[in-house]
């Protein structure tokens, strides 16, 4: 059985599968790309052929336009095996955002899984992570420190609604990333019984529309830009993290500035951003999830793409798992996505 290092190589363009002739989440435009999910650090424009889930392709078209999303776009359903060159390729849910997939590759009996970004917590907008036994597991490490143990997202939504009830005359503006976090928050709010219209910053509208078209029903959404101050009193507004404490937020009624991100776990981070109500809601695996996943996939070797690799490799080493830091520059650029 060939060692995985001999056929999946870390190059300046990202991970390259030699016997298949394709890159996974390439960092620059390439001939043939397999894309795990639509976040801009993983799905970049300008590849000639793109293979991804139907949902990820739709998201890419919304974000970068039809042309930049790949001259040839091919969709692959979860569990369908496709032979590319000499390699069998299939996708399984990663539980990160709608359409997010792990890429499983098998060549001459050797199996590698590139998980992209993933989480293990429940998310009503996307199917849950499916562990795949493998020889090498390629993982992210965004929150790979034992201080990151995300609380239940439902409980954090409870804190938001509690604050809305206590300050009904104020606008709660929640800073959140436009792909994934925004729609997850909306669905969690709906599950918690919030059936009033939810107001959106302009930057969030297009992807919510795409989610709707892909069958994720988000309920009544309104543009925050045209709403009057009076309408926004007592309302929940979702906006990009960059907008919540800036000029844009002046239209709101005495805003309570909230932010939904795994980084909110650390007080200093929340304080720096001027956040009054930090909500610890993340689309990335926390410390316990990362370690549990390593144990479940039972790979003797783990490659870490980006994040706090030192701690994760140390913890894996204590359990006899060999760790390797790929240090792929270019992933995790968007802090706000966490």
């Amino acid at each position: 059985m060939p060692h995985p290092e001999t056929w999946l190589k870390s190059t300046p363009s990202g991970l390259f599968c030699e016997p298949g002739g394709f890159h996974v989440d390439p960092l620059r435009a390439v001939e043939r790309a397999v894309i795990t999910h639509g976040h801009s650090d993983h799905a970049r424009p300008g590849h000639r052929s793109v293979l991804a889930t139907r949902e990820t392709l739709a998201i890419m078209r919304t974000r970068m336009g039809e042309a930049a999303a790949g001259a040839n776009q091919q969709s692959l359903g979860f569990g369908e095996v496709l032979r590319i060159g000499e390699v069998d390729v299939w996708l399984q849910p990663a539980g990160h955002v709608l359409g997010s997939a792990q890429v499983a590759m098998e060549w001459r009996g050797s199996r590698i899984v590139v998980s992209g970004d993933y989480k293990r917590a429940r998310d009503p907008t996307t199917p849950g992570f499916v562990p795949i036994a493998c020889d090498v597991f390629v993982t992210e490490a965004t929150f790979a420190l034992p201080v990151f143990r995300h609380p239940k997202a439902e409980a954090e939504i409870g804190r938001l609604l509690d604050s809305v009830a206590l300050f009904p005359e104020r606008t709660h503006v929640v800073g959140c990333y436009s792909l994934g976090k925004c729609q997850r928050l909306i669905m969690l709010l709906r599950e918690a019984g919030w059936d009033r219209p939810i107001y959106l910053h302009g930057a969030h509208q297009a992807l919510c529309q795409t989610y709707e078209e892909l069958g994720v029903k988000l309920g009544a959404l309104r543009p925050a830009t045209v709403a009057g101050k009076a309408d926004l009193a007592g309302a929940i507004v979702l906006a990009p993290p960059s907008a919540i404490a800036d000029r844009w937020a002046r239209r709101l009624a005495e805003p309570v500035v909230c932010a939904a991100s795994g980084w909110m776990r650390v007080r200093q981070r929340a304080k720096q951003g001027g956040v009054e109500l930090p909500l610890v809601i993340s689309d990335h695996a926390d410390w316990d999830e990362l370690n549990a996943t390593l144990d479940e996939v039972a790979a003797p070797e783990v490659w870490v793409t980006h994040g706090a690799e030192e701690a994760l490799i140390h913890a894996a080493g204590l359990r006899g798992i060999r760790g390797r830091a790929l240090r792929l520059l270019g992933y995790g650029d968007e802090d706000a996505e966490a």
Binding site: L145, L166, A249, R250, R265, K271, E310
Partner: protein, 546 residues
């Protein structure tokens, strides 16, 4: 502790006073006794534990966590208690998190050797937010960002308006955690707690700034005038139950001024100004500042910065409440009391003789000593009323000084102003080491401007940023601000060697080139008292927050 931890999570991130008040009110109204009482004590800083130290947190971390992972985590988080609260590996337990009463009673009774085991058990039973509150509480590192006054306002609101914050102040210092009798009173289940002989604080009577509109309506014959000294207002309370020195904000500052406490061998409640006095001369405020915010004080500091109290009112003579008497009658009682007692380290505030308002205006303008802020005007027929009643007492400050400075840095404000650059650092010119002129920062201002001026400054700052350091923007050195201030004092801690008291923006001087802004030497002459105060153009728009 769950509710207290949740309250703490909100309070530490909330800039708004009204928001804090609403959060506190709900906490007090929904939590049971005695937990809410201990929560109140924690918020107002009345809880201290001798046995638990930060070293305990390190010890616990070492016992339960991998040293490499702990080091990486601590490095990332930057706060010891927070790191341990977040990464604590809980052992399975059926126990509920401890409540406030359990924590306090256990810690007060526990032996030092038992502590690590007890605290570890609590941490196991808690979530990160409770663990954080617990660790900060027991090691004395709790920073809530709530004044004791604000907590009392929230308590008063809880009573539905029956009890005011001043009423709460009156009984506060006679009570102790967990304040069961206070809550019972607020909820109308019991009568007002009787402070009996306890040396409690009495809400003070405060003055309004004198506005132009008030001036015409003043009747000089009904008015009494005194100097307004630049110290801190204090209340001296001496009863059979003890002696206390309180700040205007009801903070017990007795520990910092033992020589005053020792001089209080009488039975009375007095109102006065705490000052540093050397050979009968009142020293500038900066001298007094050396003595403030200390829990205790050494002999050397007491000798170098000797304090005294200039008395101006008497609230109680023995057990007799004098507050309903008019000012003139109280003044007579104060003089008689003083003649009888002759307390050390105290003298009487002079009554200033005058005939007309013009006399007063001349006196006010003639006051040059840095230790005098202006005049106090009081109606001779006014009783002593808590709060800030209209039309009875006025403070008439000297015109502020002003200087033309150049805007150097700006930072975003808090709360409503969080989207605006509203904190300004400004500087004056001086000769640099290379002989060329350079700007040296001399202070920061957050107030004094109108909404329109704020919008203008915000836009200008965004368009003229030359560098960014985190939340701070450095701007083009091109915008002149007229800065008003009450006094300027030497300060070795500042790069410029000078500190301004109550600086605020008086005017935007976009008409003025930056090169024509003032020089540091000009300001230093004010400090030395060589220059007469320059009357601020357009002053009086804002009053300092004294």
């Amino acid at each position: 502790m769950i509710a207290f931890a949740a309250l703490l999570e909100r309070l530490v991130f909330t800039p708004g006073r009204n928001t804090k008040r609403a959060l506190l009110r709900r906490y007090f109204a929904t939590q049971p006794d005695p937990d809410r009482g201990f929560g109140l004590a924690a918020v107002t800083g009345e809880l201290t534990f001798k046995s638990a130290k930060p070293a305990l947190i390190r010890e616990l971390a070492a016992a339960r966590t991998d040293p490499d992972l702990f080091a990486l985590s601590y490095d990332f988080v930057g706060d010891l208690a927070e790191t341990v609260a977040l990464m604590w590996p809980s052992m399975a337990t059926n126990r509920a998190p401890p409540d406030m009463a359990e924590v306090i009673e256990t810690l007060n009774a526990a032996d030092k050797a038992e502590l690590p085991g007890i605290v570890a058990g609590w941490l196991d039973a808690s979530d990160p937010s409770v663990r954080f509150a617990l660790l900060k509480l027991i090691t004395g590192g709790l920073r809530v960002g709530v004044s004791a006054r604000l907590a009392k306002v929230a308590l008063a609101e809880m009573s539905g308006g029956r009890v005011t914050a001043d009423d709460v102040e009156e009984v506060w210092h006679g009570l102790a955690p967990p304040y069961a009798s206070l809550f019972a009173w607020l909820e109308d289940r019991a009568p007002r707690p009787d402070p009996a002989d306890a040396p409690v604080f009495r809400p003070p009577m405060l003055a309004h700034p004198l506005e132009h509109a008030d001036f015409a309506a003043l009747d000089p014959a009904a008015l009494r005038a005194e100097w307004k000294w630049d110290g801190i207002r204090v209340q001296l309370v001496a009863t059979g139950g003890g002696q206390r020195l309180y700040s205007r904000g009801s903070e017990d500052i007795s520990g910092g001024f033992p020589e005053i406490i020792r001089a209080m061998d009488f039975h009375a409640v007095l109102d006065g100004e705490l000052l540093v006095v050397r050979d009968g001369q009142v020293a500038p405020f900066a001298d007094l500042q050396q003595r403030l915010n200390r829990k205790s004080v050494g002999a050397k500091l007491m000798q170098q910065h000797p304090v005294a109290v200039r008395l101006y009112d008497i609230l109680f003579d023995g057990a007799e409440d004098l507050r309903t008497l008019p000012f003139d009658a109280r003044r007579a009682r104060l003089e008689a009391w003083y003649a009888r007692q002759r307390p050390a380290r105290m003298d009487l505030s002079d009554m200033i003789r005058f005939e007309t308002l013009e006399d007063l205006a001349a006196l006010r303008d003639g006051a040059r000593a840095a230790s005098i802020e202006g005049l106090m005007l009081k109606r001779g027929d006014a009783p002593y009323l808590p709060g800030r009643p209209r039309g009875l007492w006025w403070k008439w400050k000297r015109d502020p000084l002003s200087i033309d400075a150049v805007l150097m840095y700006a930072q975003r404000g808090h709360g409503k102003r969080s989207s605006f650059y509203s904190d300004y650092t400004f500087g004056l010119w001086r000769s640099g080491a290379d002989g060329r002129d350079e700007l040296v920062p001399i202070g920061k201002a957050y107030s004094g401007f109108t909404d329109e001026e704020l919008t203008l400054l915000d836009r200008w700052i965004r368009n003229n940023t030359v560098a960014r350091f985190g939340p701070v923007r450095e701007v083009e050195k091109a915008f002149v601000l007229e800065v008003a201030f009450d006094a300027a004092q030497r300060s070795p801690r500042h790069k410029s060697g000078v500190a301004l008291r109550f600086p605020r923006i008086a005017r935007l001087r976009q008409d003025k080139p930056a090169a024509e802004a003032d020089r540091l030497e000009t300001l230093m002459r004010v400090v030395e008292g060589q220059a007469a105060p320059r009357t601020c153009r357009g002053a009086g728009r804002t009053d300092s927050p004294s």
